[in-house]
C-alpha cells in the first residue's frame, strides 16, 4: 500500500462545520470533481458521494484520520512511501485501537481511513473495522486487493459504516502494474477486488500512484475505468520511500502533464462516466487547468488541523504522508486527546506565519492560505516545508505558461 495521504473530505452526509459544496460524485472520495469548464448540466452523483469542503481552520479537530493498521504488506511496491513490508516491532493491539477510536470520536473525528502496509494482512482487520463503527465513525479502507476474496467482499458488504474502499491500481497493463508492485498477478487481483466490491454494492475507487514507469498508463486507465461506476483518484509518488528510485520521480513538467490530463478528462467525460480527481495534494490554483483535485478549493495542508496520522506503533503525525521528522508523539505515552490539544505540537500548520514562506511561495498571492501546499511534497523535494516547487500555479508563472503583463510578450 502506498496511499498515505490524508483522508479526503467527501462524504455523503453533511456534518459539523463541514459544508456540502455540491452533490456530485467524488473520486475515492472526494473531491469536488469540480465544474470542469464545459461539464454541462448537473449530473447525478455516481454513488452517494456528496462533497464536503474541509472545515474552517478555526474548527480544529481530527475530522478525518489515517490509521496505519500495520506496516506489514504482501507486496513490495517500488514507490511505497512507507517502505512497507514487515510489521513494525510492536504494533498496536485491538484494545489500543479501540481506545484510539473512542478518543477520536471524543475529539470530534468523523472518518477513519484504515491503510497499511496492507490492512487486510492483519488477522484482526475485521474486528478493527467494527471498532471504527462502534465508536460512531465512518470507515474508509484502502487495500492493494491481494487479500480480497469472496469472503472478504461479503464481510465488507455487511459493514454498515463502511463508506468506501480504495483499491490501488497503477496501470491498465498488467505487466506495468505487476512490475511496480513487485509481484506478478497483483494486477489481476486488484481488478478482481475493484469489480467484486463494486458489484457487492460498495462504493469503490481506484487509486493510481504515478511515477515515470506508469505515466503513459493514464490514458489506458481512463479507458479501462470509463463507465465502470468506479471513482478514480490519481496521486503522484513522493520521494521518501527506500525502494523508490528518485529518477522515477516525476519532474515538474511531467507533474504538470498529470494536471493537464485530469483537466482534459474532466472536459471530455461527464462526471458520472469518469469521476476522476487528483489527490488533494496535487497542484493548486492553476489559472489554466481549472480544478483538478478533489477539493473545491485548496485551503492548505490540513495536517494537525483537521487530519491526523496514526502509525501502527502508536506514533502520531499530522498526516501519515509526512516525513518521520514530523512525528509529534506516541499515543502510548499519553492520550490522543492530550496530544491533539497540546499547543506545542503540529506547529507547521498551527503556528504558521507568512514570513515562514520561502522561495516562490513567499511572494505568491495565495501564500497565506495555501501555506506552500502539501507539507510532505515541499519537504521531500526542497528540505523546506514552506517552499513547494510542485504547484500548478507556480509552474505556470515560473515557466511562463500564463501571459504576464510585465514580461515580454505578456498580455497588457
Amino acid at each position: 500500500m502506498t496511499d498515505r495521504r490524508a483522508p479526503e473530505f467527501a462524504t455523503d452526509s453533511a456534518s459539523g462545520a463541514a459544508r456540502v459544496s455540491a452533490a456530485r460524485g467524488g473520486a475515492l472520495g472526494n473531491g469536488d470533481l469540480g465544474e470542469p469548464g464545459n461539464a454541462g448540466p448537473e449530473r447525478p452523483p455516481v454513488r452517494g458521494g456528496g462533497v464536503i469542503e474541509p472545515p474552517e481552520v478555526a474548527d480544529r479537530r481530527p475530522y478525518s484520520v489515517n490509521v496505519e493498521l500495520t506496516l506489514a504488506c504482501n507486496l513490495r511496491c517500488r514507490h511505497c512511501g512507507s517502505s512497507a513490508g514487515k510489521p513494525r516491532p510492536d504494533e498496536l493491539s485491538l484494545e489500543e485501537f479501540a481506545t484510539c477510536f473512542a478518543e477520536l470520536a471524543q475529539l470530534g473525528g468523523e472518518e477513519v481511513c484504515l491503510l497499511g502496509g496492507e490492512p487486510l494482512v492483519r488477522k484482526d482487520w475485521e474486528a478493527i473495522c467494527h471498532q471504527v463503527g462502534e465508536a460512531g465513525l465512518r470507515l474508509v479502507l484502502i487495500t492493494n486487493g491481494m487479500a480480497v476474496n469472496d469472503e472478504v467482499v461479503r464481510r465488507m458488504a455487511a459493514m454498515p459504516h463502511l463508506h468506501r474502499v480504495g483499491v490501488s491500481l497503477d496501470a491498465a497493463h498488467a505487466e506495468i502494474h505487476d512490475d511496480l508492485r513487485g509481484r506478478s498477478g497483483s494486477h489481476a487481483r486488484a481488478l478482481w477486488a475493484l469489480f467484486s466490491l463494486r458489484d457487492a454494492g460498495i462504493e469503490v475507487g481506484a487509486i493510481t500512484t504515478l511515477s515515470r514507469p506508469n505515466l503513459e498508463e493514464l490514458q489506458p486507465l481512463a479507458e479501462l475505468l470509463l463507465d465502470q461506476q468506479i471513482t478514480w483518484q490519481i496521486q503522484v509518488a513522493s520521494l521518501g520511500g527506500t525502494r523508490f528510485d528518485s529518477s522515477d520521480h516525476l519532474d515538474r513538467a511531467a507533474f504538470y502533464r498529470v494536471g493537464q490530463f485530469i483537466s482534459e478528462c474532466r472536459r471530455r467525460y461527464p462526471v458520472d462516466r469518469l469521476p476522476v480527481a487528483g489527490s488533494h495534494d496535487i497542484g493548486h490554483h492553476s489559472e489554466i487547468l481549472g480544478p483538478t483535485g478533489e477539493l473545491a478549493e485548496w485551503h492548505g495542508c490540513g495536517a494537525g488541523l483537521y487530519t491526523l496520522g496514526i502509525m501502527s506503533d502508536g506514533r502520531i503525525k499530522g498526516c501519515l504522508s509526512q516525513h518521520d521528522d514530523f512525528i509529534e508523539d506516541n499515543l502510548r505515552h499519553r492520550s490522543l486527546v492530550d496530544i491533539w490539544n497540546d499547543p506545542n505540537l503540529f506547529t507547521r500548520n498551527r503556528r504558521f506565519s507568512v514570513e515562514q514562506l520561502e522561495g516562490f511561495c513567499r511572494q505568491c498571492p495565495y501564500g497565506a492560505t495555501c501555506r506552500a501546499g502539501c507539507s510532505n511534497v515541499a519537504y521531500t523535494t526542497t528540505g523546506c516545508t514552506f517552499d513547494n516547487p510542485f504547484c500548478f500555479y507556480r509552474i505556470e508563472q515560473e515557466d511562463g505558461l500564463v501571459a504576464h503583463p510585465d514580461r515580454p510578450g505578456g498580455a497588457g
Binding site: H323, D325, E358, G383, C384, T385
Partner: protein, 322 residues
C-alpha cells in the same frame, strides 16, 4: 583461545591501546571503553597475549547516540521495549587479519553470552563503517545478522567552492542565532541537553541529569571540536532549539557528528542555513574538506545541490535479535 571481558585494571589494556593507536589513530577513551557504564570490552587471548578485541556499546547510552553513524530513529522501535538490551558493535579488530573471522566469531559468541546473562532479550547491531567491522563482513550473515532500515550515506563537502553556493543559502530567521561551543555558558549547555533529550531520546525517556552529564563528557572528549560545533539559540524562547556537533578525527578533516532540531523547527532548512557559519570558521582555520553522515536521501540531494557535497560511501546497519 580464551575470550573474556576486561575490566579497567586489566594489564592487557596497554596492548589494546597500542593496536587502536596504530590502526585507528584512536584510543580506548574515545570509544568510551571502560570509562563509561554500558561500554563493554572483550578480548581474545593466546599465550596470555591479546590477539583481538571487540568494543560493544549500550545503545541507550546518550554518548553513543552522538557518534552513531546510523539513523538514530531507526532503532527507536526496539528502544521502546524496556527489557531489551540493545548494543552496538563499535569495533572489532584482530592483530592478524587472517585470524579476524575466527576471533570475531569467538568475540561475538562471548558477548552474546554476556547479554543473555544480563537481559531478558537483546539486540546487537553493527555497521561496516570501521575497517575492522568491514573485514569480517562475510561472517555476519552466517551468524544471523540481518540488514535493517536504510543505509546511511557518508558525504563529503569541499569548502573551496563554498562561497559560490553560500550566496544562495537563505539567512537564518531573525529570532535565531548560532552559538559556537567555545563560547557557550552552563545555562546554554543545560538547554542543549534538554533539546537533545527531546530530539533523540523522547521514547527512551532518560532522566535529564544523566543526559546532561553524558553530553558534558561528549563535549569534553579529546576529538570533539568546540570550534566547529554549534547550538541554535532562540532569543524569543530563550532556549536551544537545535545543534550541530563536530569532531576532528583527522586533524584536517572535520566530521559533523550529529544534527538535531526540535520538531517544531524542522522543515525550514535550518541546518543548511547554519552551515555557512561553520564553513566560514573551518575555512578560516585552513580546513577545506569535511564529512557528515545522513540516512535521508532528501538530505543527500539537498546537500549536493546546495553546497556541492558528494556521496562517498553507503553504510548499512545489520541487526541480530535474541
Amino acid at each position: 583461545m580464551d575470550v573474556r571481558p576486561l575490566d579497567p585494571a586489566d594489564p592487557a589494556l596497554a596492548a589494546i591501546e597500542e593496536m587502536l593507536g596504530e590502526h585507528y589513530r584512536s584510543n580506548l577513551a574515545s570509544y568510551g571503553a571502560l570509562s563509561r557504564e554500558g561500554t563493554v570490552l572483550f578480548a581474545c587471548f593466546e599465550d596470555s597475549q591479546p590477539i583481538a578485541f571487540g568494543i560493544f556499546r549500550n545503545y541507550r547510552d546518550p554518548e553513543l547516540h552522538v557518534g552513531s553513524h546510523i539513523d538514530l530513529d531507526q532503532l527507536a522501535d526496539i528502544l521502546q521495549m524496556e527489557e531489551v538490551g540493545l548494543y552496538q558493535v563499535a569495533l572489532l579488530h584482530a592483530r592478524h587479519p587472517d585470524r579476524l573471522v575466527e576471533t570475531t566469531e569467538a568475540l561475538l559468541a562471548a558477548f552474546e553470552g554476556w547479554l543473555v546473562e544480563h537481559y531478558q532479550r537483546h539486540g546487537i547491531f553493527i555497521t561496516l563503517f570501521e575497517k575492522g567491522n568491514r573485514l569480517a563482513r562475510p561472517l555476519y550473515k552466517r551468524l544471523g545478522f540481518k540488514k535493517v532500515g536504510r543505509p546511511s550515506s557518508l558525504m563529503r563537502f569541499d569548502l573551496h567552492r563554498s562561497d559560490r553556493f553560500f550566496r544562495k543559502i537563505p539567512p537564518l530567521p531573525e529570532a535565531l542565532v548560532v552559538r559556537f561551543f567555545e563560547e557557550v555558558g552552563e545555562a546554554e549547555k543545560e538547554s542543549f541537553a534538554e533539546c537533545y533529550r527531546t530530539v533523540f531520546l523522547r521514547s527512551a525517556r532518560p532522566d535529564p541529569s544523566s543526559v546532561f552529564s553524558a553530553l558534558t563528557r561528549v563535549v569534553s572528549a579529546p576529538d570533539f571540536d568546540p570550534y566547529l560545533s554549534c547550538l541554535l539559540w532562540s532569543h524569543q524562547q530563550e532556549r536551544v532549539v537545535g545543534f550541530m556537533l563536530a569532531q576532528r578525527p583527522e586533524p584536517l578533516q572535520p566530521h559533523i557528528l550529529v544534527v538535531g532540531l526540535l520538531p517544531e523547527f524542522r522543515g525550514q532548512r535550518l541546518p543548511l542555513r547554519c552551515f555557512p557559519f561553520i564553513a566560514r570558521r573551518a575555512l578560516a582555520q585552513g580546513l577545506s574538506r569535511g564529512t557528515f553522515v545522513t540516512t535521508q536521501s532528501m538530505v543527500v540531494r539537498l546537500a549536493m545541490r546546495a553546497f556541492g557535497a558528494r556521496q562517498i560511501e553507503r553504510i548499512q546497519p545489520y541487526l541480530k535479535v535474541g
